[in-house]
């Protein structure tokens, strides 16, 4: 992610540069002011100002300049404005960095007896610390391929639906695609000299330092905050897992000992799973082939926050069985997925039918789910790799079905065509794109790539499917 400058992501660092002592006052009292604790503090962090005065019982005031630090004395609440007056009884004052604008500044601390002059001064240098927590879209198998490693845009990282989605890791999860339910979060800060911690808003979030959950690499939370940890070189990768029921939760990066976040991301659990099935011999790839319209749509939906899987349609057998079906059943039974989406081109359309048919036939043993969206583009039955029959059947139990097709010619595409499917959108049977100005010259091998087609699929899916 790019360098952050927004105030919400700034942290204040304070470095004690000088501690000076004035051992006597005009009245003969003795006092000193000492900064203790960390030599640097970040936004929300604290440093203690210890005042020793003799004889006890005198009155002492403390001035904080400029007004960027709060002060908390014994039995006092946090104050943002000086001066703060104390009875001197071996007083300790805790300074809390509240906020600062970007840049570097100084704070001068003075402790004075009312009747006397300055006793001591400590100069603290303030530095802006910048940091970021960048969440990525879901993994697939041992990495991201055939999808790209795609960061959630900064402006969406706390968005309730388009922000970071995460798969529920439920009991009995079989991980058919290996341990890929963890979401990668890259932590980065401008000042590696601090220790940082992660704060979660729900115990459903578990955090690991390894993507495969190597034993001993889970971060322990106490009161939903981890212990402080270093970010050597200013960066570290965390892997976030959702172990509870459906919901949303935030994960914040903050300086250790502080409750003020440097950055935060908001996770929402996936309620749906989206299967994009290419045509015969179309294999999903990264970068996506622009001539593989189904995968172009799938990638756009993935970037928009859906849990999308790009597949070669050969992963669906004529009975609907195969790795895609297994992935869906696992998602319904162990990840709390309630909505199943499938769309495909050519044989991928035929496989969409086969998949929906098997899901519907086995509904009783699978669990509760709906199929809110399916789509064909020039769909061809997929009873075998040599099947060239039009797929004209409506996917069983689909609540909405989009259909695009063309009629071509033998010379153009050897007569390979989809066709009308009753009950489809656009009504009543879908759209023969050759009846439109933009699709008049369509062939089977072009029809999946029209932007009008891919946009139609994405837009109609988006209004019908919960992420």
């Amino acid at each position: 992610m790019g360098h952050r400058r927004s105030l919400a992501r700034c942290a204040l660092a304070a470095t004690a540069l000088l501690v000076s002592f004035a051992p006597t006052t005009p009245s003969g009292a003795v006092a000193s002011v000492t900064l203790t604790g960390p030599t640097e503090i970040a936004l929300g962090g604290t440093v203690q100002l210890v005042i020793d005065a003799s004889p006890p019982g005198g009155s002492l005031s403390v001035t904080l300049e400029p007004l960027r630090l709060g002060a908390t004395g014994a039995q006092r609440t946090k104050l943002a404005a000086p001066p703060v007056t104390f009875r001197v009884d071996g007083e300790r004052i805790t300074l809390t960095a509240l906020e600062t604008s970007a840049g570097v500044g100084d704070v001068v601390l003075r402790a004075d007896y009312r009747q006397g002059g300055m006793l001591a001064r400590a100069r603290v240098a303030l530095t802006v610390v910048e940091g970021n927590a960048t969440a990525y879209r879901p993994q697939f198998g041992a990495g991201y391929a055939p999808l790209p490693r795609l960061a959630v845009p900064d402006h969406l990282e706390t968005h309730a639906t388009r922000g970071p989605g995460i798969r529920v890791h439920g009991a009995g999860e079989t991980d058919p695609s290996s341990e890929d339910d963890l979401i990668e979060v890259e932590l980065s800060v401008s000042h590696a000299s601090f220790e940082y911690a992660l704060r979660r808003s729900s115990a459903a979030l578990a955090v690991w330092t390894t993507r495969n959950k190597v034993p001993g690499t889970q971060l322990a939370f106490t009161g939903n905050v981890t212990q402080g940890f270093a970010l050597p070189g200013g960066t570290r990768t965390a892997w976030v897992e959702w172990t509870g029921a459906h919901g949303t939760a935030e994960l914040s990066l903050e300086p250790a000992g502080s409750a003020t976040p440097v950055d935060r991301v908001r996770f929402h659990t996936f309620h749906s799973i989206v299967m994009a099935l290419g045509g015969e011999s179309q294999v999903p790839s990264d970068p996506v082939d622009p001539n593989h319209g189904t995968f172009v749509v799938g990638l756009a939906l993935y970037a928009n926050g859906y849990d999308v899987f790009l597949y070669d349609e050969d992963n669906v057998s004529p009975t609907g069985a195969g790795s895609i079906y297994d992935e869906i059943v696992n998602a319904i039974q162990h990840r709390g997925v309630e909505q199943v989406v499938s769309f495909g081109y050519s044989h991928g359309g035929g496989s969409t039918y086969d998949l929906a048919d098997r899901l519907d036939a086995n509904r009783g043993s699978i669990g509760t789910f709906s199929i809110p969206f399916t789509s064909y583009v020039d769909s061809v039955e997929n009873d075998s790799d040599t099947d060239t029959a039009m797929e004209l059947r409506y996917p069983p139990s689909s609540l909405y079905h989009a259909n695009h097709y063309q009629h071509g010619s033998f010379f153009e595409d050897l007569g390979l065509d989809g066709g009308p499917v009753p009950g489809s959108d656009p009504p009543p049977t879908g759209l023969d794109v050759e009846t439109t100005p933009w699709g008049a010259s369509a062939t089977h091998f072009l029809v999946d790539d029209y932007q009008q087609v891919t946009d139609f699929i994405a837009a109609n899916l988006d209004v019908r499917v919960t992420r």
Binding site: G364, S365, S384, D385, L416
Partner: protein, 263 residues
């Protein structure tokens, strides 16, 4: 040795010999591949027609050989146009189902998993299975009857559908006695009943017990294909396996049973 047993062994002998043959690896014919490519990517209708005539001549001379080339062409495809070429040219070239079977069944003996998967993908339409209908291997009856069943194809049959494979082999080999036939039918019905209940989410310990009883009986059956049926069921449904059952079948005396249970 009884006359009956001698007859049974004589029937099985060709199968065993077939299984010992070395692997079959289909070879690309560069000249034919060029003609197919030109046909699929023809720049003009005339070029399409000319290449179709040329391929048609090849089909009349040796249709299975042309099917093999079409199969290999589409298997190597990276575009939908090329990937669909096999299916698209089948009708214009008047290729018969028997030509496809003759060309593709031997591919199951290939050492290349992609080709074996491709053969399964091309032949699936002859098996007639969908989400609600089990496969029927009747189309392969002549092939098996002629003693051409080899290890790779046997593995395909039994792993695709143990019940359909059992039906096919029983129809070819015969169950020898009525009681054995009833035994096989009961086992098949028990599997289907159990699978149906599992599919509908109404699992029954009774149905499972009946199936396990049949599997226990058939795992030591005289006919290798009955034992192969048990092996395939256990591989497809590992929780059904009992201690030692699968291990015993992995060292079965019949090579085809061992082939089916091989990792």
């Amino acid at each position: 040795m009884s006359t009956f047993l001698i007859a049974a062994l004589a029937t099985l002998a060709p199968l065993a010999q077939d299984a010992e043959r070395e692997a079959y690896e289909p070879r690309l014919d560069a000249d034919v591949q060029r003609v197919i490519h030109t046909c699929v990517h023809a720049a003009t209708p005339a070029e399409r027609d000319a290449t179709l005539i040329e391929l048609g001549t090849l089909a009349r001379n040796d249709a299975p050989a042309l099917v093999t080339q079409l199969f290999l062409y589409s298997e190597a495809a990276t575009t939908t146009r090329d990937g669909m070429a096999f299916g698209l040219l089948r009708e214009p070239l008047a290729l018969r189902d028997a030509d496809l079977l003759a060309a593709l069944i031997p591919v199951f003996e290939s050492s290349k998993p992609d080709l074996r998967r491709g053969a399964a993908g091309a032949l699936s339409e002859f098996e007639g299975a969908d989400a609600r209908t089990p496969p029927d291997f009747g189309v392969y009856r002549a092939w098996v009857t002629e003693g051409r069943l080899r290890a790779g194809f046997a593995r395909h049959l039994f792993t695709t559908s143990p019940a359909a494979a059992l039906t096919l082999l029983e129809s070819v080999q015969g169950a020898q006695t009525e009681s054995k036939s009833n035994e096989l039918s009961s086992a098949r019905r028990a599997l289907e009943a159990w699978q149906d209940r599992e599919r509908r989410g109404v699992a029954s310990s009774g149905a499972k017990h009946v199936l396990l009883t049949h599997l226990d009986t058939l795992r030591t059956h005289d006919a290798w294909w009955a034992r192969a049926f048990v092996a395939a069921v256990l591989i497809e449904h590992p929780p059904l396996s009992r201690a030692g059952w699968l291990a015993k079948l992995q060292t079965d005396k019949h090579r085809l049973v061992r082939a089916i249970t091989a990792p």
